[in-house]
């Protein structure tokens, strides 16, 4: 069932299957992520795109088992090839175990979207970046300091010897995001999940940050999962895209194919709502309505309420399965295939 046909990588660095992360709220079950499959190859960049609330950030946090409180990963596997080459299903580990902690930051790390709130305001940048090395290596304090200064310099922070002892509020937004990248990459993880890495930044800074990430990827050879709602980030940085809607992947293909020949009505609408410079239009196209609530969702296509091609009695009767269009293109729509999503113990909840 999984779109295993990938472009060049033979064995994926990370392979996620059937991920379901639910929030058990007082007024029902919020199915934030409801059966997501994706994989990332060696040194590959993939994008997960979708609107706010589609479950993309929860997918990111689920990878490192960071979901807390009422949220719970109820099903799924995420098989990661660790630095030493052993395969481990990280979702099968106890979230508080030493093994899970040894994966976090060292094998896989996250670049968070809000550089202001993602650092502790009362600890120096240097302390917080150095903590990565303190946790995952046996370096001495002097060596750690040296490595942190080198890394800060590498991500383009001027005067790293001075900046290392400064607090987050003394840095500009762009600088903080550079520091965040330095922190995520200092242990040379094999996979980096970038959760809206440029959302909080100015457009000019966005470009610089993305360039920096591409350079670092060439240099360090890590795989990157870009989680974003920004089509520009996707277009320029990733080889394959997963489009998410209401907790599920509705379409996945190469970036080129996605822009040229989207198959799912949601993707088609989404692409048409992007403004194109130099091509003036009366009004930008919008997708009518809003994303329906993911609390106790009915068993139907998630896009049914907003879809121009919705077929009554078909699309609201079952959930379409993610089916193969061709070797590098998969979509989840009854217009393309009659195949229905299989039910499991969680479907009827």
């Amino acid at each position: 069932m999984t779109p295993s046909a990938s472009l060049k990588s033979t064995e994926p660095r990370l392979k996620v299957e059937g991920l379901k992360t639910y929030f058990f709220l007082d007024h029902g079950i919020l199915k934030a992520v409801d059966g997501v499959d994706f994989h990332v190859g060696e040194a590959e960049s993939v994008g997960i795109i979708g609107e706010s609330g589609c479950g993309k950030s929860i997918t990111a946090q689920s990878m490192l088992q960071l979901v807390r409180g009422r949220g719970q990963i109820v099903a799924g596997h995420a098989v990661l090839r660790r630095k030493q080459g052993e395969m481990v299903d990280i979702l099968s580990l106890d979230p508080d175990s030493a093994e899970m902690r040894s994966v976090r930051g060292d094998d896989a790390s996250i670049i968070f979207q809000e550089p202001m709130t993602s650092f502790s305001p009362v600890h120096t940048i240097g302390f917080q970046i150095g903590e990565m090395l303190r946790l995952h290596t046996k370096l001495s304090e002097a060596q750690i300091r040296e490595r942190v200064i080198a890394m800060l310099g590498r991500v383009g922070i001027s005067n790293p010897e001075v900046r290392i002892d400064e607090y987050p509020h003394q840095l500009s937004g762009g600088m903080r995001q550079r520091a965040m990248i330095a922190m995520a990459l200092i242990c040379h993880p094999q996979i980096v999940i970038a959760d809206e890495p440029t959302t909080a930044l100015d457009v000019t800074i966005q470009a610089q940050i993305l360039d920096l990430m591409r350079d670092l990827q060439d240099e360090l050879g890590m795989s990157i999962v870009y989680i974003t709602h920004n089509m520009a980030v996707v277009a320029e940085n990733v080889s394959r895209v997963y489009v998410m809607y209401l907790g599920r992947v509705v379409e996945t293909t190469t970036t080129e194919r996605l822009f040229k020949d989207p198959k799912h009505p949601y993707t088609q609408k989404l692409l048409r709502s992007i403004p194109h410079p130099g091509r003036p239009v009366e009004r930008l196209e919008v997708i009518e309505g809003s994303v329906p609530s993911a609390v106790d969702p009915p068993r139907r296509c998630g896009f049914f309420t907003r879809c121009p091609s919705a077929m009554a009695g078909v699309c609201d009767a079952a959930i379409p399965a993610l089916t193969k269009v061709d070797d590098e293109h998969w979509a989840r729509c009854f217009l393309l295939s009659d195949e229905k999503e299989a039910e499991d113990e969680w479907s009827s909840l």
Binding site: R104, T117, P121, V122, E131, L135, H136, Y167, M183
Partner: protein
């Protein structure tokens, strides 16, 4: 940091002067004076007090002078001679009464505050980290009972239970045979046998607030992004809580540390009465009732100065803890 401390210290001086003026006004506020009540008493007893005699008594105590003059005299003596004037009622120098009672009061209060923090902070953390657990609910219940039951009632209750079961009457700091005795091991043991009760009562009284405040602020902080960031780095959960969110959640508590001391002194007046403790609280109460103005003024002054220095220490701790404060 040093600059911050010096600047804060500099602000203290005008502040202290202002406080002394306010203290003086406060003790002058109630209508009448000690001489009025004294003369009234004499007349009630059938004595004849002439206006001239009344005037002489007034002059003796310096009450015939204008307010600013009285203030200047009062402050001058305090600053240059450590003389707080005389207590009308006890007919002794106020300074001597303060010397007797202030140190024991401060030591008792600081001990109670120390115990309060040592118990309340870990319990607050436990309550927040294990929100809605049995622990949390139990602590909340105990906290609310501790908050609702007045200290003196708790003191009476415990006193009664201890007396019923052991025959030991907790009373004052020392049992009667040791009150005037020189310091010895036996006296220290006797002190411990008595002093646990006021410390316990004051600790329980203060604990609830700190536990609740810390629980609330920590719960806010635990959901912040930087906690998730630390978790994503592989920081163990307990280290994470103690290193990051607690550092910020403790700020409101640090800022109230300064006025905990006078709050404890005020809160223990009734407890002190009930337990017969020779602390400053009951004396302040009596001095206020009898318009023993120099005594009341002296105590208000000392308490205010303690508050000001407490706040200074609070500020220093806050600045040490939070770089955003010290760099302002």
């Amino acid at each position: 940091m040093l600059q911050f401390a010096l600047r804060r210290l500099g602000i203290l001086i005008p502040f202290l002067i202002a406080i002394s003026i306010v203290s003086f006004i406060v003790i002058q506020l109630p209508p009448g004076s000690y001489v009025d009540s004294y003369v009234n008493n004499l007349r009630l007893q059938g004595n004849v007090v002439s206006a001239e005699q009344e005037g002489n008594i007034r002059a003796m105590y310096g009450l015939d002078k204008s307010m600013p003059e009285q203030y200047a005299l009062w402050m001058g003596k305090i600053v240059f001679a450590g003389d707080f004037g005389s207590s009308f009622r006890y007919n002794r120098p106020v300074a001597a009464i303060l010397m007797e009672r202030v140190p024991s009061t401060i030591i008792l209060s600081l001990t109670a505050i120390a115990f309060t923090w040592l118990l309340a902070v870990p319990l607050g953390i436990l309550s927040a980290v294990k929100q809605y657990s049995v622990w949390d609910h139990t602590l909340t219940l105990i906290g609310l009972v501790g908050l609702a039951v007045p200290g003196f009632l708790l003191a009476l209750g415990i006193m009664f239970v201890v007396y019923q079961n052991t025959g030991w009457l907790v009373n004052g700091f020392f049992s009667p045979p040791f009150r005037e005795a020189p310091w010895s091991l036996a006296k220290v043991l006797d002190l411990l046998k008595n002093v646990w009760l006021p410390i316990l009562v004051l600790t329980i009284g203060g604990m609830a607030t700190i536990t609740r405040v810390l629980r609330a602020t920590l719960l806010d902080e635990l959901n912040k992004q930087y906690v998730t960031t630390a978790r994503a780095k592989g920081v163990p959960e307990m280290t994470n809580v103690l290193r990051y969110p607690l550092r910020i959640a403790i700020n409101p508590l640090l800022s109230t540390l300064g006025w905990m001391l006078p709050a404890v002194v005020g809160g223990e007046i009734v407890v002190s009465k009930v337990l017969n403790l020779p602390t400053i609280g009951p004396v302040l109460l009596e001095a206020s009732i009898t318009q023993d103005m120099y005594l009341a003024g002296g105590i208000v002054m000392i308490l205010s100065v303690l508050t000001v220095f407490g706040t200074f220490i609070s500020d220093l701790l806050l600045a040490l803890n939070d770089p955003r404060i010290r760099m302002e």
